[in-house]
Symmetry: C2
Amino acid sequence: MNALLIVAHGSRRKASNQEVCQLTELLEKQDHLFDHVACAFLELCTPSIPNGLLQAIEKGATQIVVFPYFLSAGRHVVEDIPAEIAKVSLLHPQINIQLSQYLGASPDINALMLKQAKLALKIE
Amino acid sequence: MNALLIVAHGSRRKASNQEVCQLTELLEKQDHLFDHVACAFLELCTPSIPNGLLQAIEKGATQIVVFPYFLSAGRHVVEDIPAEIAKVSLLHPQINIQLSQYLGASPDINALMLKQAKLALKIE
């Protein structure tokens, strides 16, 4: 069973965390290869990354893709998220946990940005 | 003349700011309706948003779309970026400055995320 865990930074602002949860719900409903989709937060909101992973394992996941919902390859993406994953990998070495590239690394992001920016342009 | 100003938060980590600059260069080279594409930072890096706007105006921009390279509608997107734009609008009321929706609000972001996450999935 495949699971997808969207990992966001977490914010003091509840609405920002809710945006991530709503996006996760939308993703869950779409057609894809994941049997389970959930979100987790590096800090300031729950579930934590280890708890998100453990919940997926409890639901039967044998492979989990962790997707960093981050725009740049900062310390959070390069060090903190792998360190959180490692805590669970040590407990459950039989579970295949894969770290996806972070959002900002997507080669499609510039097309998406141009499409969004164009909507704000007033053609006269 | 239309200009696009990509606005990122700015980071203490130089590589993160460079990622934004590189993305901006990629955008500049693509086919779109903007005659000038540049980036600016809310804090921790230059140019500031007012300076980015002023540079676009110096280059002849009469309409500028400001694109918040942010994932959630936090204080930075809702208050800080509009406040920075307002400083320049007061000085140059004849320039049409439009604030685009932020990146995370794109309806296409979930398809992009699934595509990226799928690459990390090992199909057995």
